[in-house]
Subunit: 139 residues, 4 copies
């Protein structure tokens, strides 16, 4: 069973793109990348970024890779009365709001995920997507 | 006090039946069995099954045996305002949606539980029940 | 970065071979397999196997894959005065005595690990090696 | 009370210097930086670096900053019979062998720490020092 894993040079490009977007919108962010096995590959906390958002960024990335979906999609199903209510108690703690985005290879297969936390969830997601897009644009 | 415990050969039949059902409906599943003491007896992650669902399958089985009830029944009582609100915080983390099903002996006494995760909760439950039924059908 | 992962049908053959060896030497064992990302793939507790050895079997497999080496080799370095003294406190708890053995593909690359616990460490290791050999012998 | 904290641009220089040294000696490393509050600031896992050494790199950095000393110095006191025997049980797990090195400002005040893991402890320490020196050499 062949699997692909996000590489360090890819991770560095992704982090740089996310950081550039964070600066552009003026929000200090925590940015995390996990690999195909949901293990931490890269992490960066920008100066002044909220301290508690470091763990959230890492958990968003893990949540996304754990279920092969953007983290915010999990949150739609984990609300009271939802089919996945309180799924956040699994896997050492999930974060199920937006800001965790999958990293996919050319064949649309997940090779890891990026998680961003520090601003509003919309801002977090915008920065995560900017990071993920840097992977797609690789030549 | 005599206690009955799910045996390995029973567990293997249960897992096989659950795996067959998972293949039949075309969903890669994580399948876990715990014994009468809620301790892990067997576990299997099918190729391509979601990574984060391994812990969920195990927690569903444990939740079911911890409270001697299908895991989804707990979720009905753990909603905001419910009598067991946020019970998921106990026992190292519960999973209270469907997919955890009790394993019972001929005298209707619990001897363990099966937990399944990887598809929709309906699919998870269907596969768990197929597994549990393999125990009932034993000759 | 291409990686290989132990497959379910391989894992089942490995578990069967380990179980056969355990029966041959007359010791009830806990047998665990983790994949390339050190995540649990398969687990089995034989009837009568020591309860506390379930977690040990899983941690031996993880320890082996975490450091790409047989678990007992870590223990040689983690003794008082050794270069890796008390490394066992990392990664949520390691088990650094024998019984964790790497699973390697034809190119000698790790694709996972097996961990066995329930007997003496020599017996544990013998059973783990019997399991790992089943992978090498695949046609 | 004014506190100084390692900044992101400093952390990036430190990580780059450590990575360059790791490449020079030909060992794939995990490299972590924590700030003055012992909270994760930056992390990087080189391609092929041992999976279990990620947590160790982070714990080395934290151990160093927790006690304002190189991590290996703690290990000298935590041996059986030593004054800090088994201190590794504190703070969610310490790593007390070499590879964690303090980051100090011009006034010799700690502003964080770097932790490196992936090679021998001597190699880990060499890479950590190369990283820490990049901070001292700043103009």
């Amino acid at each position: 069973m062949q699997t692909m894993n996000v590489k360090l040079n890819q991770s560095e490009k992704i982090i740089e793109a996310a950081k550039a977007k964070a600066k552009e919108i003026g929000v200090a962010m925590n940015i995390a990348i996990v690999d195909e096995g949901a293990n931490l590959k890269c992490f960066l906390r920008m100066d002044g970024a909220l301290l508690g958002c470091a763990d959230i960024a890492i958990k968003k990335a893990k949540t996304s890779r754990f279920f092969d979906i953007d983290s915010g999609e999990i949150g739609k199903l984990s609300q009271p009365g939802g089919s996945l209510y309180n799924i956040e108690h699994s896997n050492g703690g999930l974060i199920s709001f937006a800001g965790g985005v999958l990293l996919k290879d050319r064949n649309n297969k997940s090779i890891g995920a990026i998680g961003v936390s520090g601003g509003s969830v919309e801002q977090d997601r915008e920065v995560a997507i900017a990071g993920a897009n840097a992977l797609q644009n690789r030549s």
